[in-house]
Symmetry: C2
Subunit: 378 residues, 2 copies
């Protein structure tokens, strides 16, 4: 059977795009040639999709479902309320089925591939996570390695600073940086703009050149998908992978410093919980700890009993842990200020950062990373 | 406003997955926890989606649309005919709208993000593109650079062989490797399994250690999307980017050999056309040329007139071009055997490879790459 696939693809392309002048600026998260979604100057997003046979289409973004309306050409559209700046996952709901907008790039979140839209901030405010052609750029390397713990291939991403390419004798400190529940190892470099944040901070002398390792925290599906799983243990499978497979792989492959003073870990949301679980049980291996909107519930059991009693001796803890960093968006409910206060009251040194105006979303975590990295390895 | 997003995500997760025992093996291209699609031992794929309110759902794969049928729980399913082994893009059609299957990872193709499914081959046959824990692994680096030609940031991916990390004085030859129309710079390392192919071939001594650069060929949307564009010029914007921005960036950033004998270019489909357009006009810069299912129509104008008459003097051409490689799947209609024969008849040395049983799809191109790289830089 001989056949030419171009005509089929052509039809798909014409169906996919609902072209026309944008009511605002085309979103940076769109695929090439997609005029919609676009964002107005007052941060309202307009979505469009060509779906002449559909009976009901909605856009589902920032916790709200907006009904879309159909025009005479079968193009559905909706404009949202003003949205908080930064990155948001979203879905279209076509006759009850939640699907990715064909006009969007995809971002792994919500336990699957999702559409995403960037609501632009003021360029000056956004400069720290924006590509700057005038600073040296690091690289994000996709690395595959074999995990003896799991008996299978795994993948991590490794940011190396620009000078790593030329400074062949230097060794670098390492930050292990985790995504949240329902996300995976791609999140920090896509949604998180991690490389731009590091490039800019290192070039400005605000952060020391470091290596950042992003692996899958074994919590990349949403709980509920595995019935009967113990919530407290969710993601715990990552601990032996990190300690026994990943750290040795990184230290055998990259020019890194291997002492505890030069090893940090941080994570967002469920990755913050994993960070506390792993680092506080292994303070011989980690000296800098960050939890961004961490899913931390240990106050319920009393601070004294938490993490094997690690907080019982504040002086010993403060001597060992160079940085204990907690953060949260001002508009979310993840308890970081209460935890910070309880720790402070108990004599545990810690730093709390609150991201103004943001929710449990990536702008909170971009800002948190940008606040955290200047504190590391000093 | 304070809110917790977990409950919303939980509902989305439950809606997204239609769990149950798989009729065959879960596809390797699925997201974690998705049991469907699955593939039977005779290469039939079964797809499922929970869509109780939808009126009509189809799966669109390998040029055929299969009607799905709904059960009493609102789960639609369909099983295909036996499919050719290898990777296939596919879409679900929900009440007339072509969407990505929520159970699939996404792959950029068809001018947008697409679902994809891997139909497994016999493991021995597939060994050359399969991760092997017993060979050293290279890395695929995401690199951002500024293009003066376009006045904007661009992205390329760069494969470095395993020994690049330790062999600090060695310099490596470079292959520039292009995707096809409607695809982008991610294609070769995702759908193409490029890193596994190189790791395995280098470890076996079948290919010399080399660097592979994969950039966007400026043809990542399907023609028709830009009305009135001249087909022959489609993607031509990549030529000055490659010559004036990308090659200098690579040669300034990586330890590479910079003479024409150590610079190759190859591409699939439209990337094959771009490869011929660029290399044959710049034989002072390229010595090895590959076209995998290339969109090459130059025979229509006569071989003598093609590419500025570069084929008029076979001896001069053969002295300059170390490898001219053409390939195609046996089941597609891209004219490579006719071109190879015409070139041979005119005295132009070339190599033709035909992939048995495959169409205009990635298995053709994985095999083509595996046949091409042993010929390079000898």
């Amino acid at each position: 059977m001989k056949r030419l696939i171009f005509p089929i693809l052509l039809i798909a392309a014409i169906q996919a795009f609902a072209a026309g002048p944008a009511e605002g600026t085309t979103a940076s998260t769109n695929i090439p040639e997609a005029a919609y979604p676009c964002v107005s100057s007052d941060s309202k997003a307009t979505f469009r999709i060509h779906a002449p046979e559909a009976k009901d289409v909605k856009v589902d973004i920032c916790g709200k479902k907006y009904d879309m309306t159909k025009n005479e050409n079968g193009v559905w559209s909706a404009t949202t309320d003003p949205l908080v700046e930064g990155f948001h996952y979203y879905f279209l709901i076509v006759d009850g089925v939640s699907v990715i907008d064909p006009a969007s790039e995809t971002f792994y979140g919500c336990g699957k591939e999702a559409s995403g839209i960037e609501i632009p901030e003021d360029p000056e405010t956004a400069a720290y996570y924006t590509f700057n052609k005038n600073v040296p750029h690091g690289q994000v390397r996709e690395c595959k390695y074999y995990s003896d713990t799991e008996g299978r291939q795994r993948r991590c991403f490794v940011y190396t600073p620009a000078e790593y390419e030329t400074n062949h004798n230097a060794k670098y400190p390492v930050l292990y940086l985790q995504h949240g529940m329902g996300e995976n190892e791609t999140g920090w470099s896509k949604q998180g703009m991690m490389a731009n944040i590091l490039d800019n901070a290192i070039a400005a002398g605000k952060a020391v050149p470091m290596i950042i390792v992003m692996d899958n925290g074994n919590c990349d599906y949403i709980f509920g998908a595995k019935k009967g799983e113990d919530m407290a243990a969710f993601g715990a499978g990552f601990t032996p992978v990190l300690l026994n497979d990943l750290i040795p792989y990184i230290e055998n492959t990259f020019r890194v410093k291997t002492d505890r003073e030069n090893r940090a870990m941080a994570g967002l949301s469920w990755g913050g919980k994993e960070t506390f679980d792993i680092t506080l049980a292994n303070l011989d291996k980690f000296s800098h700890i960050g939890s961004f909107s961490g899913a931390l519930f240990f106050l319920h059991g009393g601070l004294e009993n938490a993490y094997g009693g690690v907080f019982k001796d504040p002086k010993a803890f403060n001597d060992k842990v160079k940085v204990l960093f907690l953060s949260m968006g001002s508009e979310e409910n993840f308890g970081a200020p209460d935890i910070s206060k309880a720790l402070t009251d108990a004599g545990i040194s810690n730093i709390y950062y609150e991201s103004p105006g943001t929710h449990h979303e990536w702008l909170t975590w971009r800002r948190s990373l940008n606040e955290f990295i200047p504190l590391l390895f000093r």
